[in-house]
Amino acid sequence: MRDATYDVVTIGGGPAGMAAALAARQAGADRVLIIERDRELGGILQQCIHNGFGLRKFKEELTGPGYADRYIEMVGAAGIDVWLDSTVLAAEAGGRITCVGPTTGLATVEAKAVVHSMGCRERTRGAIRIPGSRPAGVFTAGAAQRMVNMEGYLPGRDVVIIGSGDIGLIMARRMTLEGARVRAVFEIMPYSNGLTRNIVQCLEDFGIPLYLSHCVVAVHGHDRVTGVTVAEVDADLHVKPGTEFDLPCDCVLLSVGLIPENELGRAIGVSTDRITSGAVVDQFRQTSKPGFFAAGNVLHVHDLVDLVSNEAEIAGRSAALFAKGVFGEATHERAVIAGEGLRQVVPQRLSTLEKGKNAIRFFFRSKAPMGPSIIALKTEDGIVWDRKLRVVKPSEMIVADIPVNRFAKASHIEFVLTLDEHPEPLEGAVEEEDA
C-alpha cells in the first residue's frame, strides 16, 4: 500500500479540481495532490470539443480540451502531484483518503484539507420515468458526446432529444454535423433549459425545432429504438389527452438535468442542500465537516466553466489556509436565504468574515423565467443592496459580488428576486451572463 501525506488533496481533476489545486499552491500549500479517475486531467471538458469556453477567464474563445490544456500546463508547472486512473473509495473525516488504481494500487493519503471536486452526473431516463420499452439507442447526451467526440462512434442516425439542457443542445448540433438527422428537441417546461446562445447556435442555426411544453410518453422498439410517442403537457405538466403523436427515430438522447456527484460528501455526513443536491457551504466553500471544501458542479451545477474555475479558486485557497492553520472549521453562523423568486443560493451560510475582504460572490438561480427584474438583499434593516437584471432564466446563473459592508453586521440575510416595475432602457447586459 502506498501512503502519502499532503496539505491539500482535490478529489477529481476536472476544471474545479485543477483550479482548486492551483489556488492552494498559490496560497502557500506545499504539497498538493489531484486524484483523477480518468486517464487524463480535464474531466468533462475533454469531450466538449465545441468552442465557447474561457471568454472570461482567458479573454478568448477556447474549446473544452483547449481550456483544459491551459490548466493542465499550469498544474504541471506548479509542482502539483497528479494521480491519474485512480478512484477514491473513501475520504473519511479527518482527511484520510483511500483510493485505488492500476498503477497506484490501493493507497491511503493523509490530507490536511480536502476539496471535493467530483463534478456531476446526468439525470437518467429512469429518474424521470419515461415509459415504454428499453431498446438500444437511448443514451444520456453526455455519454453520447463521449462516444462521438472521444471514441469516434455515433449513437444513432435519426435522433430525438429529450430535454433542452445545454448538453442536449450541443449534441443536436454535433449529431447534425456528423450527418445524423435530428428531428426535434422536446422540453416539458414552457421555457428552455439551456443557455440562449446554445438555443440560437445549436438549434435555430440548423433548423431544428424546439417543442416547449412537450414530453415523450413512450419509447418504442425491441432491438433498437424505432420511435417515440410525444404529447403536449398543460401548466401542471400533465399530458393533454389527444395531443399525442408518433415520431420515428433510432436514437433518443436525454438532456434532463445534472446532479452533483456528491456521494463522497454524503458518506461522511456533510450537510446537503435539498435543492442543489450539493453540500451546504460558507463563503470559503467549507462544508459542515471541518477541512472538507467543495467547488464546481459537485457543489451546484454551473453553466460556465469559467465560473467553476473561479469558485474552485476560493475553495483551493481556503483549503490551503485551513491546512496551514490560518483558519479553522466553518462556523456557518449566518444562513443565507434564497427568498421570493429564487430557487437557490450558494453559499448557503456565512462564517466569520475575513478581514480585508471587500466583497463576497453569490450565485443564484431563479425559480422561473422573468423579464426585467431586481435582485435585492434584505436584512433586518430593509433592502441594503439591489441590482437590475434585464432578463432572468432558471438556466442562466445570476452572479453577484456584493460589498461586505452592506451586510457585515446583519443577522438576517435574504435575497429576493422581483419584477422590475420601472425597467430602464439598457444598453447591453448588466447581469453576469455570458453573451
Binding site: 492500476p102 431516463r125 429512469g126 438500444a136 462512434y153
Partner: protein, 497 residues
C-alpha cells in the same frame, strides 16, 4: 451493421436438449449435469436470463400461499431449502430477510390467519402473526393504518440474474453445453416420439427434450404438435430505487393477497436497493415489456398503501417482465401427446424459488421415462468463488491488484466495479456477451447513473474481450447494436489501404 461474433459450432446430438436459458432451464441443465449425460441447453437470445428471469421480484418465497398438494406448494418449499444449501457455492447472492404480509383490516388479518394455517400444512417454518406495534417496530416506514402482519422468517431475496448464471455456469463446468443465439425452429418426431430438435444453427438429435421456454413454452410445444396448454403473458411493472433508500424496508412487504396475484409489494433487493411492483396486466404479445404511465401510477399508489413516503425522486429505473401464466399450477411432466417431450411450463410465481426443485423433479421424470441417470463422480457442485472487490479486505485487494492491475481500475463508479471483475464476467463459462449481460453479472451500470459513466467503457471492454468491433457490441437482444461507425471513417480506411 456490425458483423456477428463467430459462435462455436453446435452439438449434433445430445441425451437431453433443454430449451430455454432462463432460471428454470439453467437449473434443469445444472441438475442433469450431475449425471453422465450429454446435456445441451438452447437459448435464442445472446445471453441467459433475458426473459422472465431478468424482470421479476427476486424473492425466495417462504411457501405459505400455495395450495397444498400442488407442484407449486411442493417445489416452492423444496426450492427455498435448496437455495439455502447451494446458493453460496454457486455464487448466487441471497439474503434471508423474512417477509411480512401486511394487514390493514380485520378481514386482512383473517386472511393472514388462513395463510398461516396453509403455510404450516406446506411445511413452512417459523410463521407468526404480528400485531401492529411489533410490525411498526420492525418497519418504521410502514403506513400508520396497519392492523398487523403475517411474519415468515424463511423468506429471502436473491439475485435472479446470478441465480440463472450460477446454474448455467455450473452446468457448463460439469460438461453441459449452452448454445446462445440458437432459436428452436422445429421439433422432429417419429412414431409419436421426439427424435431431434431443429434450430437456427443446425439440427440436434435427441430422445429427450425439456421445454423450459417460459412465455414461449406453448409455441415450442406446438412445434411438436402438442397443443395441450396455452400461455398467457401477464405483464408486471416495477420501479427500482437507489441504494440510498435501502432503509425504507427491512423485509419483503406484501399486501394481503388477492385471488390473482400476490399484489404490489415494497421490498429490498439482495443488493440493498428498494423496488416496488409488480402490477398485473394481461398482454397479447410475448415480447411486450413496455412500461406504461398508468401502470407506473398503479404501482406507486399500490406501494403507498404499505409505505406512504416513497422517495420517487430516487427512482433509478423502471422495467416490466412477463409472467408465463398457464393455469393454477405449474405444468410439469411429459407431454400428453409427444413422448420424450417433457414440459417445465407455466412457471409463474413461485418459479424462481422453485427452479432448483424443478430441476430435481425433471430429472426424476426423465428417469421414469427411461433415461439412465448414472452419477458422474467428477461432478463439482460449486463454482469458483469470485469475490467482489468492494467486499474484500485491503490486504486482499492489494494482492489482487498486484496480480492483475485491472483489479485496481474502477469502471463503474456507482457500484464500485473494477475492470478485472468485468473481464472475469465475460471470460467465465456462461459469460457475458452484451452490455446488459455485464450489468446483470457484476452490476456495472446497475447503479444510480444507469451506465451513463461506465457505458462507453464497458462497450470498449466487451469489444476487446470478444474480439469484435465496437459497432458489433449489443445491449441485449440479437440486433440491439449500440453504435454506428462515424460517417467518413470507412473512406479514410479506404485511403489508408
Amino acid at each position: 451493421m456490425g458483423e456477428m461474433r463467430g459462435l462455436e459450432p453446435i452439438s449434433s446430438k445430445a441425451d437431453v436438449v433443454v430449451i430455454g436459458g432462463g432460471v428454470v432451464g439453467c437449473a434443469i441443465a445444472r441438475e442433469l449435469s450431475r449425471y453422465r449425460l450429454d446435456v445441451v441447453l438452447l437459448e435464442q437470445a445472446p445471453d441467459v436470463a433475458t426473459g422472465t428471469s431478468k424482470a421479476n421480484s427476486g424473492i425466495l418465497h417462504a411457501g405459505f400461499d400455495c395450495e397444498p398438494g400442488t407442484w407449486k406448494a411442493r417445489l416452492n418449499v423444496r426450492g427455498a431449502a435448496l437455495y439455502a444449501e447451494i446458493a453460496e457455492g454457486l455464487g448466487i447472492p441471497r439474503r434471508e430477510i423474512g417477509s411480512l404480509v401486511v394487514a390493514h383490516s380485520d378481514a386482512d388479518l383473517a386472511t393472514c390467519e388462513s395463510l398461516l394455517a396453509r403455510g404450516r400444512e406446506n411445511g413452512v417454518a417459523g410463521l407468526e402473526i404480528w400485531g401492529a406495534d411489533r410490525l411498526r417496530a420492525h418497519e418504521p416506514s410502514i403506513s400508520a393504518d396497519v392492523a398487523g402482519a403475517l411474519w415468515a422468517p424463511t423468506a429471502a431475496v436473491v439475485c435472479p440474474f446470478l441465480a440463472t448464471v450460477g446454474f448455467g455456469e455450473n452446468a457448463i463446468r460439469n460438461g453441459a453445453k449452452i448454445h446462445t443465439e440458437c432459436g428452436v425452429t422445429g421439433l422432429v418426431t417419429a412414431g409419436g416420439r421426439i427424435v431431434a430438435v431443429e434450430t437456427t444453427r443446425g439440427r440436434i438429435e435427441a430422445r429427450f427434450v425439456v421445454n423450459a421456454a417460459g412465455v414461449h413454452a406453448a409455441d415450442v410445444a406446438r412445434l411438436a404438435g402438442d397443443d395441450s396448454f396455452t400461455i398467457h403473458p401477464r405483464r408486471g411493472e416495477y420501479i427500482l430505487f437507489d441504494r440510498s433508500t435501502g432503509a425504507l424496508a427491512r423485509s419483503v412487504l406484501f399486501p394481503t393477497p388477492s385471488k390473482v396475484s400476490k399484489g404490489i409489494l415494497v421490498s429490498p433487493t439482495v443488493h440493498g436497493n428498494i423496488f416496488i411492483g409488480p402490477n398485473a396486466a394481461d398482454v397479447d404479445e410475448l415480447d411486450d415489456v413496455e412500461t406504461t404511465a398508468p401502470g407506473l401510477d398503479e404501482i406507486i399508489s399500490g406501494a403507498r398503501k404499505i409505505v406512504p413516503d416513497l422517495p420517487l425522486q430516487n427512482a433509478i429505473t423502471e422495467f416490466a417482465g412477463l409472467r408465463a401464466a398457464a393455469g393454477k399450477d405449474f405444468i410439469i411432466g411429459e407431454s400428453p401427446i409427444v413422448k420424450g417431450l417433457v414440459h417445465a411450463a407455466g412457471i409463474q410465481s413461485p418459479g424462481l424459488t422453485s427452479a432448483p426443485a424443478i430441476g430435481e423433479a425433471i430429472a426424476e421424470i426423465l428417469a421414469d421415462l427411461g433415461l439412465k441417470l448414472t452419477p458422474d463422480p467428477t461432478f463439482v457442485p460449486v463454482n469458483p468463488h469470485r469475490p467482489k472487490f468492494t467486499e474484500q479486505t485491503p490486504v486482499e485487494q492489494m494482492a489482487r491488484i498486484a496480480a492483475d492491475p485491472l483489479a485496481g481500475r474502477v469502471i463503474c463508479r456507482c457500484e464500485t466495479i473494477t475492470e478485472a471483475e468485468i473481464v472475469a464476467a465475460i471470460r467465465a463459462p456462461c459469460g457475458a456477451r452484451t452490455i446488459d449481460g455485464v450489468k446483470r453479472r457484476v452490476r456495472a451500470g446497475a447503479g444510480r447513473c444507469q451506465g451513463g459513466f461506465c457505458g462507453p467503457r464497458v462497450t470498449a471492454i466487451l469489444a476487446r474481450e470478444l474480439g469484435i468491433p465496437v459497432t458489433a457490441v449489443r445491449k441485449e437482444t440479437l440486433e440491439s447494436w449500440l453504435f454506428y461507425a462515424r460517417a467518413g471513417l470507412e473512406i479514410r480506411e479506404d485511403i489508408d489501404a
